[in-house]
């Protein structure tokens, strides 16, 4: 019984086995519908492709012709030219304008994920259409008079696929989800329906050609967009803000509240994005919570991580490995869970080492393996180093943080003005996701240079060097400066140095004992393989793209 005295009920609740997580990630009902329709498409293809000449195939042909005969009887001379004009909705120029317009808009909006998904789906759907057309090799309708222009095999109807795909592209890359997209779907349905009616009226397609074309041109893109650009992770919005940031309203907002309540016993009062402009790797949040029996209100800082952040991290590190060589261990994270576990661990290790970092309250699971929320102390009253009064005490404190990291076998690896806050005359390090334990000596040296440059921006090289000598040997500082290059300086710090105009790195180098530069372009088999792979990949992609853009009607 003595053990129970120290284990109290905290208000946290363990999620029972089988209960859904705060934000489940199932395919929605309409997603399942489209998937079922896609499965039906495969069955239809099997019927038509493998069953040519069989009784089911003949039944489809006869049914098609019966419908077309009925439509033929409705033809009116005065309507024929109108239908021929409406038929132009499926022309290559209509499709080309829609697709290029969408691509241009996505480029302008810098919505690159949507752009690449749209491009990829265009190529896939075009390949599926061309392959099925070739495989089925169906002739145009017989037993009726064809009064319109046609091109190629009949099945599936290529113009209907092309128009459907193009309009789905517009809907799922440019129109915000919700009421607006639902209305836009009806609007998009008008030209598609008109084209289908025109083609049936002119007798150029069988009804089954159009039906399958609608499934390919609309269902496949919808499923593709939902899987590859889910609205929860890649919302389409025309409000200001970076696209990497997640929408924290709606279902996700509710899920965050539920997760914090169940997993950390915190009752959320308010959630709001916080300093989005300073963060590209996660969605920072200011969260007002109530906790404890008295319901004390306090503010915590949240960092929401999702799979798109993980992918960004992978591409970023791959790019660095190719461009700069393996400056250090730049291994990628295998999952979002690993990423947040790592950041949480680093915060705790740094705190244990006496470093001035925010206190970690742990993290909560929003969607297993997909979304997690890091929760830390909110540094009220803290300001960026850029905006702070930087006196000797702040300089000493910031340099002491680097000294402590050296002694504890740590490196921050992303020291820049935005990651050094000042509160009450004390420097605080934030954003430790890139930090590492037992780094290379070179990396620790670079941390020192970047901290000295960051501090010198708000004072002078001479003053920072003078204070650094209190904590570091001149040779240590000389080594740090010899290890530094443009590529080792974070982008924000490089930009600030450019804006400042002073050659601070040069000033520091004049102050320290002379030392030859340390080589940083470290070639490795991995780097060579990655570079060759990337060059070959780009060459193949460009060739394929050019070929397929022509096939897809974009060129």
């Amino acid at each position: 019984m003595a053990g129970l005295a120290v284990v109290s009920r905290t208000g946290k609740r363990r999620r029972p086995s089988g209960e859904a997580p705060p934000l489940p990630h199932p395919l929605s009902a309409s997603g399942w519908f489209y998937l079922a329709v896609a499965a039906g498409l495969v069955a239809a293809w099997l019927l038509l492709y493998l069953g040519l000449g069989t009784d089911p195939f003949k039944a489809v042909v006869r049914a098609d012709v019966a419908v077309l005969r009925a439509i033929e009887r409705l033809r009116i001379d005065s309507l024929n030219p109108i239908m021929a004009d409406l038929h132009a909705l499926g022309s290559v120029w209509t499709v080309r304008s829609l697709r290029w317009g969408t691509l241009a808009a996505l480029l302008v909006l810098r919505r690159f994920r949507h752009l690449f998904v749209f491009l990829g789906l265009t190529l896939v759907v075009t390949a599926v259409t061309a392959t099925s057309s070739l495989a089925v090799g169906r002739m145009r309708p017989v037993d009726i008079e064809i009064i319109g222009l046609w091109e190629g095999y009949a099945h599936p109807s290529t113009p209907v696929v092309a128009l459907g795909l193009s309009l789905m592209g517009v809907l799922y890359t440019l129109v915000p989800a919700g009421r607006m997209r639902n209305r836009a779907k009806w609007v998009a349905g008008i030209p598609i329906a008109t084209l289908c009616v025109a083609r049936l009226y002119l007798g150029v397609d069988h009804p089954s050609d159009i039906l399958v074309a609608l499934i390919i041109g609309m269902s496949l893109p919808v499923v593709g967009f939902r899987l590859l650009t889910p609205n929860e992770a890649f919302p389409i919005s025309y409000h200001r803000g970076r696209s990497a940031h997640l929408d924290v309203g709606g279902r996700r907002g509710e899920a965050i509240r539920q997760a914090l309540h169940q997993q950390l016993a915190l009752t959320v009062v308010e959630i709001a994005p916080f300093r989005l402009e300073g963060s590209a790797g996660s969605t920072p949040l200011r969260i007002v919570v109530r906790h404890g029996a008295e319901g004390v209100e306090t503010v915590v800082f949240g960092k929401l991580y999702a799979r798109n952040h993980l992918r960004s991290d992978r591409w970023y590190k791959l790019g660095r490995a190719i461009l700069y060589g393996r400056l250090e261990d730049e291994g990628t994270f295998s999952s979002v869970r690993r990423l947040v576990e790592y950041e949480d661990y680093l915060l705790r290790v740094m705190a244990d080492a006496g470093l001035p970092v925010p206190l970690s309250y742990g993290f909560v699971e929003i969607t297993p393996e997909r979304e997690y929320l890091m929760v830390t102390e909110f540094l009220s009253g803290a300001v960026d180093l850029d905006e702070a009064e930087v006196d000797d005490a702040v300089i000493d404190d910031a340099l002491a943080a680097v000294r402590r990291m050296w002694d504890a076998g740590l490196a921050h690896r992303d020291i820049k003005p935005a990651n050094v806050l000042v509160r009450g005359g004390r420097a605080i390090l934030i954003d430790v996701a890139f930090a590492t334990v037992r780094p290379t000596p070179w990396r620790q040296a670079v941390d020192l240079t970047n901290m000295m440059l960051t501090l010198a921006l708000r004072s002078s090289a001479e003053r920072v060097y003078e204070r650094a000598l209190l904590l570091f040997e001149p040779d240590d500082i000389a080594e740090a400066l010899a290890a530094s290059r443009s590529v080792t300086i974070p982008a924000q710090l490089r930009q600030r140095l450019r804006e400042d105009g002073r050659d601070l790195l040069g000033c520091f180098r004049q102050l320290v004992p002379e030392r030859p530069p340390i080589a940083i372009q470290l070639w490795s088999i991995r780097r060579i393989a990655l570079t060759l792979g990337a060059v070959a990949g780009v060459a193949v992609a460009v060739a394929l793209l050019a070929f397929n853009l022509r096939t897809a009607g974009l060129l």
């Binding site: 042909v61 012709v65 392959t131 090799g137 017989v142 037993d143 064809i146 091109e151 190629g152 009949a154």
Partner: protein, 168 residues
């Protein structure tokens, strides 16, 4: 599945070969030129020849054959509703019910020219560009590779199989 077939090489340009037999792949050529009493088709190809591509629409139909000695698309076969044979020389026709005309445009460095098979309601133009030297054999082979198929047979088959008329 179909994408898989394409990737595995099961579905390629040769899938579209309009072979000299009844079926939709040949009948669509007949639909391209409704007046044509015959349509061109690909017979068993002589060694060294391969099918390149088919392009068919409501105005006509074209397909191309590659030759290992004369290069890609050494022969273009086009089905039209009429041909201008002015200036072409009449030669013996191999196909019953058609007349053949030939117009050579160059003997060297490449053997190039056009042969027309003219029949009721249409004609087939064979445009070739062959390697000089080997051209005599190649010229014979290309006419072995392509034959004319009667529209009537296609229509009869469609009527018998589905009870539908090719030309209502």
């Amino acid at each position: 599945m179909l994408l898989g077939l394409l990737l595995s090489g099961c579905v390629g340009p040769e899938t579209a070969i309009p072979q000299c037999q009844t079926g939709g792949r040949l009948a669509i050529l007949a639909q391209a030129v409704p007046s044509a009493s015959m349509v061109p088709c690909v017979a068993p190809l002589p060694v060294g020849w391969s099918f390149s591509a088919l392009d068919v629409d409501s105005g006509g139909a074209r397909f191309w054959l590659n030759s290992d000695r004369s290069g890609l698309r050494a022969l273009e076969v086009e089905l039209l509703d009429a041909c201008d044979t002015a200036g072409a020389t009449a030669v013996d026709s191999e196909e019953e019910g058609s007349e053949r005309y030939q117009r050579l445009t160059s003997l060297s460095p490449r053997f190039t020219g056009i042969t027309y098979d003219v029949f009721p309601g249409g004609c087939v133009a064979y445009r070739y560009e062959l390697t000089s030297g080997a051209h005599i054999g190649l010229h014979e082979e290309l006419h072995d590779a392509v034959a004319l198929f009667p529209r009537r047979v296609l229509a009869d088959e469609l009527r018998r199989d589905l009870g539908l008329e090719l030309d209502p």
